[in-house]
């Protein structure tokens, strides 16, 4: 065992290294594709000038070089400890819970525009807190409801932020809610 407590493996574990290389290789290939796309950027107004494509090309070249550096680190085994730590860490993740939380975040953003911020936020808070482990129904409902109302007062009435009202019927519902709460 090394001085800092990590376990040093004498010989590299080939599948581990290959898995670690996937990320840099994918980023390298993406950088190559984007570099190809820079050919479609408008040419500079005069030949003496570098043009709008110069800077992104330079950045993408350096990105490709960085992927090479990272690949070199992995092959030399310098990133070994971190790679093993990551895989070990990944085993502790509740994948289903993570997946549901990600879906909730995406759904909240999507539905905010459709059904309006008040309803979308209320439902998001309710579901997210439930997924995160809060079980008491009264607390769930009250926290979501009162929290949404407080946010509406703070950001719509005080800060004048035009939060999404939703579309069609939900637009009218949101405005009706604002009138009931004396926000507008």
């Amino acid at each position: 065992m090394s001085q800092n407590g990590t376990v040093q493996i004498e010989s590299p574990h080939r599948p581990l290294i290959l898995r670690s290389l996937i990320g840099p290789i994918l980023i390298f290939l993406l950088a190559c594709y984007l570099y190809f796309l820079t050919g479609k950027i408008d040419a500079p107004p005069s030949p003496e000038q570098l043009g709008a494509a110069f800077w992104p090309r330079m950045i993408l070249l350096f990105l490709m070089i960085s992927c090479g550096i990272k690949g070199g680190e992995i092959l030399r085994g310098r990133a070994k400890g971190k790679t093993e730590a990551n895989l070990a860490g990944a085993a502790e993740v509740n994948t289903l819970k993570l997946g549901v939380m990600i879906v909730l975040v995406i759904a909240a953003v999507y539905f905010m525009d459709v059904i309006g911020f008040p309803l979308a936020n209320f439902l998001f808070l309710l579901l997210f807190m439930r997924i995160a482990g809060l079980r008491k129904k009264i607390v769930l409902f009250l926290t979501s409801f009162l929290g949404t109302i407080l946010l509406l007062y703070l950001f719509v009435k005080v800060v004048y932020l035009p939060l999404p009202k939703g579309q069609w019927l939900f637009d009218d519902m949101t405005i009706g809610l604002y009138r009931i709460l004396h926000i507008i």
């Binding site: 840099p24 980023i27 984007l34 796309l37 950027i41 408008d42 003496e48 000038q49 570098l50 709008a52 494509a53 110069f54 800077w55 992104p56 950045i59 993408l60 350096f62 990105l63 960085s66 992927c67 550096i69 990272k70 690949g71 680190e73 310098r78 990133a79 971190k82 790679t83 730590a85 990551n86 990944a90 502790e92 993740v93 509740n94 819970k97 993570l98 939380m101 990600i102 975040v105 909240a108 953003v109 905010m112 936020n121 998001f124 808070l125 997210f128 807190m129 995160a132 482990g133 809060l134 008491k136 926290t143 929290g147 946010l151 950001f155 800060v159 932020l161 035009p162 939060l163 999404p164």
Partner: protein
């Protein structure tokens, strides 16, 4: 000189006028709260208070805005230390050390240290601003795009060499951030890049959405997905804030002084600001440290240096605004708007036309930084109360605030989508050890770096050697290269020492 002291005396009396003093208090609280909330930011808070200054005189207006400014640059440190969520990019280095100190059980002391170092940095830089404004501004005026690029380059290099075990990962993260900054319409030629036909993408990717997503959403997903938590496990103790004693500050005096110098100088250079100051200060601190490998694990020097430099940059940023009429940062640009609203043109003539107002601002900033200690304690206590809130409730509301913060930037749902996308990306970056700060700084400084670089090239006829032929630029580039090479040199020296010892 005696006239200057007389003006300072007038400024002191004006500062303690009831209206003016109350503006300082109100501004501090608003600034700290806004700075602490990701997405709201200090800059937004200054913009929001600007309309309220229409009805006031110029002095209370500027005292209100400078107090929001001073409070705001500090505010993000509170949430950074407590929740690992920096309120603003400038608070990222503080988060690295502050949150780790929190995890080690030093949260009270870390909060107190952040408050104290911020107050020291802000107070001393305001003092410097008061007495050395004219010669300082002359130096800044001599900077061209070449020197500006070199300063930005130094900032980018600093973030690569700090806090990372893998230079390759840091470089990948940085260049991804620099690339993302090129999306949209380019500033110099007006060409549209990498929009894939989307009109929304033409306005580019706002760095605040990236910041909120990567740090806040990514952190929440990381925390809540790690293990199953029952409801009973959620309640945590409420930390207090303990101000450091002189004996705690004395060992950090060199870090504080370095942070002060770097923050004031970089703050005085228009177009850079607290973010660059914070990262450069942290990077320099790590390089001069005898134990650089400990940085990122909860090191007091790192916390002290970054916090001091952030608030030191406020005094520095006011120098070119007041003496030349050139704002040193986004916040001072808004303050310039306040000057113009009241029919006053900041610049050299300001000192002769309205000297009492100028010196009231000087004294106001000095007083503001002293009162910030109290305001910081109160606000930290308020945020500390949040630590008692069950984590599942707190995290849900953090995400909600992120939605609102992202939307508030441009009143556009596209920013909320970007924020969500980067939030999920931030989670996976954490899982696979891709450092986040280089990407953030790449997005923030990328447009500046490109603008200054291309402007320099246009002026120099594409001669790259101009960066090395101008003395200030050459020094800054040399320092940057030195910072880049330092880890390799240290490694080589270590190997050499181990070689003879092993023999």
């Amino acid at each position: 000189m005696s006239n200057q002291w007389a003006l300072l005396g007038t400024g002191l009396m004006n500062t303690f006028d009831p209206l003016n003093f109350s503006m300082i208090l109100v501004g501090l609280v608003i600034g700290i709260l806004a700075g602490a909330l990701p997405g709201i930011t200090m800059l937004n808070a200054i913009v929001l208070v600007l309309p309220f200054t229409y009805l006031m005189g110029i002095v209370p207006s500027l005292l209100l805005m400078t107090s929001v400014y001073c409070g705001g640059v500090f505010g993000g440190s509170i949430t950074g230390i407590l929740f690992n969520i920096p309120g603003d990019p400038m608070n990222v280095p503080t988060t690295w050390e502050g949150y780790k100190l929190n995890k080690k059980g030093f949260v009270s002391k870390a909060l107190g240290m952040a408050i104290m170092c911020s107050a020291i940095g802000g107070f001393l830089s305001a003092l410097i601003m008061t007495f050395v404004s004219p010669p300082f501004a002359r130096v800044a005026l001599s900077f061209s795009s070449c020197e500006y690029f070199s300063v930005v380059f130094l900032g980018l290099v600093s973030v690569v060499v700090i806090g990372t075990q893998s230079i390759g990962s840091a470089l990948i993260s940085l260049f991804i951030g620099l690339f993302l900054a090129t999306v949209g319409m380019d500033e110099i030629y007006g060409a549209v890049r990498f929009t894939f036909g989307s009109r929304i993408m033409e306005t580019g990717i706002n760095f605040t959405t990236v910041l909120i997503g990567l740090f806040a959403i990514g952190e929440v997903l990381d925390q809540l997905s790690l293990r199953n938590k029952g409801e009973g496990e959620q309640v945590r103790t409420r930390p207090k804030t303990t101000l450091p004693r002189f004996g705690d500050l004395w060992p950090l005096r060199n870090s504080i002084l370095r942070g002060l110098g770097i923050g004031t100088v970089i703050g005085a250079i228009p177009g850079t600001g607290a973010t660059v100051a914070s990262f450069v200060s942290y990077g320099v601190e790590k390089q001069v440290s005898k134990t650089p490998e400990k940085f990122g694990t909860g090191v007091w020097e790192g916390l002290a240096a970054s916090e001091t430099s952030i608030n030191a940059s406020t005094g520095g940023a006011m120098i070119p605004l007041l003496t030349l009429g050139i704002p040193g940062s986004g916040a001072t640009a808004v303050m310039m708007g306040a000057f113009l609203l009241h029919g006053i043109q900041p610049g050299p003539l300001l000192f002769s036309k309205a000297p009492e107002s100028v010196y009231t601002i000087f004294v106001g900033m000095l007083v503001c930084n002293l009162i910030m200690i109290l305001a910081g304690l109160v606000t930290a206590k308020f945020f500390s109360e949040l630590m008692r809130v069950p984590e599942n409730i707190l995290c849900a509301f953090i995400i909600t605030f992120c939605f609102i913060g992202a939307f508030a930037l441009r009143n556009n749902m596209a920013d909320v989508w970007f924020m969500a996308a980067f939030g999920i990306t931030g989670y996976f970056m954490r899982r696979y050890a891709l450092p986040i700060p280089p990407m953030i700084l790449g997005i923030i400084l990328g447009p500046l770096a490109e603008r200054y670089f291309l402007t320099t090239m246009i002026g120099a006829g594409n001669d790259f050697t101009v960066f090395f032929s101008r003395p200030v630029s050459a020094c800054l580039i040399a320092i940057s290269i030195g910072l880049l090479l330092m880890p390799f040199i240290r490694g080589l020296l270590k190997k050499r020492r181990k070689g003879p010892e092993a023999a």
